[in-house]
């Protein structure tokens, strides 16, 4: 069956036009960063601020990665804000027994998965709409948080926990031209890996006789992504090294990009979200897929709760209020469809960064939360409007 590889002849603009839906959110993010660079006189691009953007948004971005799966499957999760408050408080209590960071992390993830299992049971097997189950969860876990914390913050016994959010990875005294050496080396390793895997995948496609794009597009892609990696890590290196939380974030994103694109369960999530009845008749156990998705969401709440507690350096009973709305908005800005079946991890992360960069930029300009809400509302509406219009054109509506 294997025929000779074909190279698709296509111009740059035609290709860009075909993939407009995919690239437009990156363009929007880039545009917003540039606009704020002007408005803040470049303050938003300082190494310190770039690091801060990652730290301040990390817990939302982790939630977003789980939320996009829930949205792809056609559901919604309103409970995540309360759940991370509850799990954050539990993890602080567990940590304060003195068992160390790693066991605390493992227990938090397990507790998160347990809460996810509880909600997933009602949604997947009792067929109660996710909106209602998680609305109940939102109330339930907020209440439980108040009960276990006595409505007072829980402080942490030492400073090691908070390193998850505010710590950095670097090697003492190892610098290259005044910059943190570890960041530079990691960045170079990442770029080399990117080049290697991109080219390998293209060669494999050619070997199998698939139609591929001309090499120059592969080159553009490598150059753009390398530039992005080098830029971010340059900023990291000029400040305190690689923020620990960005490592957490990159690992989580990588796992879920792989999960959604390459695994059977990932494909089942898209199938069930795209048309649950059809998926069922295709031999997919829809209930089980819905169940697993909500368990994953719970697990990520465990991680996010820990990161947020670390960021605040204490577990707050009021933690996580409205986080679910930020996470949901991020997914929709990132191109997920409310009707299910459509959405990507990278898109959701990009959407989360759009929101994060706007928050950060406006804070730098000393614009208060009042106007931040207004601007975010406008961005959300416009982004989804654009998305729906472009989807209609490509037959995804």
């Amino acid at each position: 069956m294997v025929s000779a590889a074909q190279i698709e002849q296509i111009s740059f603009f035609k290709l860009a036009k075909q993939n407009m839906r995919k690239i437009s959110m990156f363009l929007v993010l880039g545009l917003i960063i540039i606009v704020f660079a002007f408005l803040t006189g470049g303050v938003n691009l300082t190494p310190r601020n770039i690091t801060n953007i990652f730290i301040q948004n990390s817990y939302i971005l982790i939630l977003t990665v789980g939320m996009v799966l829930v949205i792809i499957i056609g559901n919604i999760d309103l409970s995540v804000g309360s759940v991370i408050a509850f799990l954050g408080a539990l993890s602080a209590m567990i940590y304060n027994t003195g068992i160390g960071v790693v066991p605390t992390l493992i227990l938090s993830l397990l507790l998160g998965a347990a809460i996810g299992t509880f909600q997933a049971f009602w949604i997947a097997y009792m067929h109660i709409p996710a909106f209602i189950v998680t609305l109940a969860g939102m109330l339930l876990f907020r209440g439980l948080t108040y009960i276990i914390t006595n409505v007072t913050p829980i402080s942490l016994i030492d400073d090691r926990y908070k390193q998850i959010a505010s710590g950095s990875l670097n090697i003492e005294g190892f610098t290259i031209a005044g910059l943190d050496g570890l960041s530079i080396i990691v960045a170079l390793v990442l770029v080399v890996a990117l080049v290697y895997f991109t080219i390998r995948s293209r060669n494999q496609h050619i070997a199998h006789g698939f139609t591929v794009l001309p090499f120059r597009f592969t080159l553009y892609r490598i150059v753009a992504l390398s530039a992005l990696i080098l830029f971010i890590f340059y900023k990291f290196s000029a400040y305190r090294g690689i923020p620990t939380v960005s490592v957490v974030l990159i690992v989580v994103t990588a796992i879920f990009v792989f999960l959604t694109n390459n695994t059977v369960i990932g494909r089942y999530i898209y199938a069930v979200g795209g048309n649950a009845k059809s998926a069922k008749l295709s031999g997919i156990n829809s209930e089980q897929v819905v169940f697993i998705t909500h368990v994953i969401m719970g697990l990520l709440c465990g991680l996010s709760g820990m990161v947020f507690t670390a960021y605040m350096n204490s577990a707050l009973p009021q933690a996580g209020v409205n986080f679910e709305l930020d996470a949901i908005a991020s997914c929709f800005i990132g191109g997920a469809a409310a009707s299910g079946g459509i959405g990507t991890t990278i898109g959701a992360i990009t959407g989360g960064l759009v929101m994060g960069v706007i928050n950060n930029g406006m804070s730098l300009m000393n614009i208060g939360a009042d106007w931040q809400y207004v601007v975010k509302a406008v961005i959300l509406l416009l982004a989804v409007f654009y998305d729906i219009m472009s989807r209609r054109k490509s037959g995804l509506g």
Binding site: M1, T263, R267, G274, L281
Partner: protein, 508 residues
Amino acid sequence: MNEDYILEVRNITKEFPGVRALDNVDFKVKRGEIHCLVGENGAGKSTLMNVVSGVYPKGSYEGEVVFNGKVTNYRSTKDSEQDGLAIIHQELTLSPYLSIYENLFLGHMKTRFGVIDWDSCLRDSYPLLKRVGLNEKPQTIVSKMSVGKQQLVEIARAISQDAQLIIFDEPTSSLNDDESHKLLSLMKEFKESGITCIMISHKLDEVLSVADSITILRDGLSIESIDVTGEKVSEQRIIRGMVGRELKNLFPKKEPDIGTVVFEVKNWTVYHPDYHTMKIVDDASFFVRKGEIVSFCGPMGAGRTEMMMSIFGNSYGYGATGEIYLNGEKVEFDSPKTAIRKGVGYVSEDRKNLGLILIQDVKTNISNSSLPMISKRGVVNKRTEISKAEEFRKALNIKTPSVHQIVRNLSGGNQQKVVLSRCLLASPDIFIVDEPTRGIDVGAKFEIYSILNDMVKQGKSVIVVSSELAEAISMSDRIYVMNEGKIKGVIPREEATQEGIMRMALVD
């Protein structure tokens, strides 16, 4: 112009994408008669009634409809209702969680100063219910009543708006004998009081017992109108008019190489998913042999699709009972997943809602049933996936720019080939295809016949649910005839004629 006619339909042509559903149809109904409309599935009966009642608005069809001497200009059924023309659809259109009297006046409530006067609605509902013979309190929630009673509510609703002409679209298809009988007498009462009725029906005995005139439609053409009041008309005569056409050699059938029984279903009974006492499939038994193509024929609503779906992993209905044997071994399919794993494939008649995931691309749709097969430790091998999709694209001649194309953008025939590919990739031994050629063009039909033929040549077995008699006769080795949930009989290929099948289905 003869004032005798309440309804005249002149030169109606109605087209859907790719199909001409009605072709220059003329149709006349006398005032105060019961006029029956008969024809095979897809002959255009419902389409014609939808044109008359404004479901398809003026402008979406060619020709004119004259009601009470005036050319109609309906934009929706609301306009036709105001003119005194009501249609009772096959699927009931009541709001299920409202009570009888709320449903009766829905859309035309009695108001006083803009406020609904529920008391007078309630009061007015009693005579209406009495007139249609419904012994229920008007406050009863309609979803708690049987389908037959719900239908009476719809009829009461029609009379409450002073309907002069009521169209019944297969009114007895979901009723039991007793309810059907009552409905037919009600129609006769209406006739006495001067209301004209049009009934679409597949049940010829019912047609002959009430009709004053019968119009036969076939392939979107009006074949003939018969006045039944004077002469005695036989069922035979009507059936001949319904099928009429010559059998074309659609499908050069290869010499069959038929082996032993590989799939057998015994005493299969299924109930309606919402009305748990209503039998949709009633004690059906059948078998399929290796290398055999078996068709299931029968009118719409005979229970063929429902039976196949409930066999295929309980995908339809409530409380299915019966036994399934695969290669002589008793099996149970608790979900489609199990059925697929045991080697049974099912291609749904509802390709868009049950067969495909329209927002996904061709290759994903093809691989959806077989992902565990093309993956290792839960990771999908994308290269295998694309190669398999390419294989099917070539083998089945799926016309698409690439396997990365979203299936929504494909034509009906090509979409159907994608569904077939999905099922074939899971390599079933028993392949159930439900209306495989519905809504696709002749060329693609021929290709699909060839695909099914190739399957049986490889020693697999195919079950076809088909509403096209010509198709069923020319491609299958045996034909099971179903109606009203029962298997009425089986006809071998050599003895099968369209009239024979129709007679077996419609005449007891």
